[in-house]
Amino acid sequence: MADNRKILTDEELESTKNVSENEEYSLNDDRRVKVLSPGAMVAKRFFRNRSAVFGIIVLILMFLFSFVGGMLSPYGESELFYREEFHQKEYASAVENKEFRYRGTDDFSAIIQAQMLLSINKGADSFEWMKETYTVVKEGEDLYTCLNSSGEMIGFGFKSIFNPAQQGAEPDLETLLAIQKAHAANQAGTFTAGGKTYTIDEDSNIFTESGEEFGYVSVYNVQPLMGDVFLSREFKEQVIEEIEAGVNEFVFTDVDGEEHEYKLEYVAANDRYTITQATATRVYDRYSAPSKEHPLGTDKNGMDVMTRLMYGGRVSLTIGFVVEILSTAIALVLGGISGYFGGWVDNLIMRIVDIFYCVPSMPILIIIGAAMDNASVPPKTRMIYLMLILGVLGWPGLARLIRGQILSLREQEFMTATEATGLSVKRRIFQHLIPNVIPQTIVSVTMGLGGTILTESSLSFLGLGVRFPFASWGNIINDINDTYVLQHYLFVWIPAGLLLLATVLAFNLVGDGLRDAFDPKMKR
């Protein structure tokens, strides 16, 4: 077909001369003419095209990155990373008690308590209720006792709270009053109650006769905020001390000798002190910035972005190739049959091509993707379906091209020659027709690869293509649906987009270069 020999240009002649200077050929010697096979000529034209060579280099790098990189990467495709996160958890709260609390006999009813509070606030020392007169006696600061008309003490009101050393060891009424009185006196000393003697120090710590701790009195009430925490007395005492000292942070050494850091904060809104503890929680290492371990940071699931990109490239390239091989196979067979046999076969196949050509592919893919979502198809099956659908939707254009080519090739002399030499139909098609449509097919496949990768990534971006846990460049960029990611975590989505762009661009450049190289009319 094509003339295999190329007449050398002057320049090239010059160079051949230099190589074989001492050999002189006669003018009609075949060795004067450099013979290049058609393939070599195509390659020569192709490599002269700088942008195509650039495309090839990009593609090689991309393959290395995706297929070799995935193997070299120390992490797995969906390996999760964690980090310890310290945050201040609310641990306990301390409230200064500003309300009166009451203790008393059964006669000391809630109404009487209220009446007593009224008279305290008024500054009166007695009040009447139900025709009976009660006397209110101030025993000390914020400590009042209430006597009934017969002079018996029926109860008392106080603000400072007695915290017993042993849990649940509540003292009786008399002892409690004695403790409150001793506390109200605000100085160290001893007192007796119920036949026992107690000592009280300046910080209102109370000891029994034998020197055992009995409890302490404080105006602050310290309570745990977390459910499963028991606050030891030492802790409560220390909190009160720190509040009185006015510090913000303190270290508390617990019974086991472990030191814990606490922060003390006064919350004006509810008039209490909140004690927060720094606790470590193990969380997914989400959106961590690029570092030595993760060159491109981590994504929203706490996976290494670099590794995801490698596996994503693998997925995108594999899907591209499988889809193109599938649709090219269909196109070659149907286009070949159609072009070779012509007549009604050709008519039928071409009408099928027309129909498939008109089916809007993106909507179909979206609908099927959404349906698979609904049927919760497993991600792997989903990927296979995706390839099949893309392949089935992708063949009509190429089939039309091949049919046209074969139609015109069939009429050429070399085909008449094959018929005349009695070659079988199979041989005629596969040995003489198909090889002649290979160039167009290769160009179309190369350009198609870029297109397929774009379609796949668009679908994955919409969440209708390749799904988690599999990575795809499209679904990595999917994170930007959260505007915060779009704005702040550029390291997650920009590299994926650039890789995608570079790959598609490279396929298009190479396809373009191949088309020019295959075109015998090309002058350069």
């Binding site: 609908i367 349906a371 979502d373 598609v504 298009n508």
Partner: protein
């Protein structure tokens, strides 16, 4: 007469193709699990004192008209469609055509404006590249064109949003009207809408300008290599005359054909662009209808898209015959 016969034949063929395309789409939609009805039934079944899921499914299948077989269902749909009734959209609970007429306007204007820009930019650049073939200008233009063709739409939109909406703060991230739209006077309302359409139109121009630029360049190159251009040059005509009069006019033939072919596409909407910018056009609504499994709306949209594609091909072929005198003679 010949032309008329040809046109009639093509139209009839297109109708047959459209019929089969609709049938294929309908079959696919019906074969898939009807997610929409299932979801509605599931939601209704969870309400207190409700029927069971199966009972709801049975009732809803009948009331949504999904109880017929695929073939008979298709013919019922087709019969209604031929009378101009495409049913009620499930997702938007309104007649499909009413919804369509509401949202087609903005899609059309967006596509039309971006098409004008595309042509205004692509033609001069394509011609420039062809005139200076293999020069630096040519390489720059060609590679830019291929780069535009290779741009993933969603990535481009993300980049544009990052730069123009977030970093520069010139435009809103999504939507067609600003938050104080209702308080503006009509002129500023118009300006507000226009400002919201700048980025979408820019996106549309950028993603489709590449192929047009290459098309112009290829055709111009073909014309420039033709014999009559050599003749024109040999006659000693000035370069501007050769280019503008002899070459460009002949390039117009394929360009007009291309233009005619892409006119119907103006009504097709832009699925990705509209969805990502939340522009209430046909692309946006059909994306949401399709992902919700709304069969009437999806059927309409896909048949409509197929119709537009066929119409585009038809128009291109007819225009080719009309514009090029050489085709008419033969």
């Amino acid at each position: 007469m010949n032309t008329l016969k040809y046109v009639v034949k093509r139209v009839l063929l297109s109708l047959v193709i459209l019929f089969f395309v609709a049938l294929i789409i309908y079959t696919i939609m019906r074969c898939l699990p009807t997610s929409y009805i299932e979801n509605v039934a599931r939601a209704k079944a969870t309400q207190p004192n409700s029927k069971t899921y199966e009972e709801w499914m049975a009732q809803l299948t009948v009331s949504y008209g999904m109880d017929k077989g695929i073939i008979s269902g298709f013919f019922v749909w087709l019969g209604q469609a031929l009378q101009g009734n495409f049913g009620d959209s499930w997702q938007y609970t309104a007649p499909v055509l009413q919804k369509f007429s509401e949202c087609i306007g903005i899609s059309f204007w967006m596509s039309a404006i971006s098409m004008v820009f595309e042509w205004l930019i692509a033609i001069p650049l394509g011609i420039l590249a062809a005139r200076k073939q293999y020069s630096k200008t040519d390489y720059t233009i060609s590679i830019t064109a291929i780069a535009c063709m290779s741009l993933p739409t969603f990535f481009l939109i993300a980049l544009l949003k990052l730069v123009f909406c977030i970093k520069l703060g010139w435009f809103d991230l999504i939507g067609v009207i600003g938050r104080d739209y209702a308080m503006l006077d009509p002129w500023h309302q118009f300006l507000d809408r226009a400002a919201h359409l700048v980025l979408p139109i820019f996106t549309l121009v950028l993603i489709s300008i590449g192929s047009l630029m290459r098309y112009v360049r290829t055709n111009m190159l073909e014309v420039l290599n033709a014999d009559y251009i050599r003749t024109a040059r040999a006659k000693g005509l000035s370069e501007s005359k050769v280019i503008n009069k002899h070459a460009f006019r002949n390039t117009l033939i394929p360009l007009v054909t291309f233009l005619g072919g892409s006119l119907p596409g103006l009504f097709g909407g832009a699925l990705f662009t509209e969805t990502m910018y939340s522009i209430p056009g046909i692309g946006y609504y059909s994306y949401h209808a399709m992902s919700a499994g709304d069969i009437p709306f999806s059927m309409f949209y896909m048949t409509f898209s197929a119709l537009l594609a066929l119409l585009g091909n038809l128009l291109a072929d007819i225009l080719y015959a009309v514009v090029d005198p050489r085709v008419r003679v033969s």
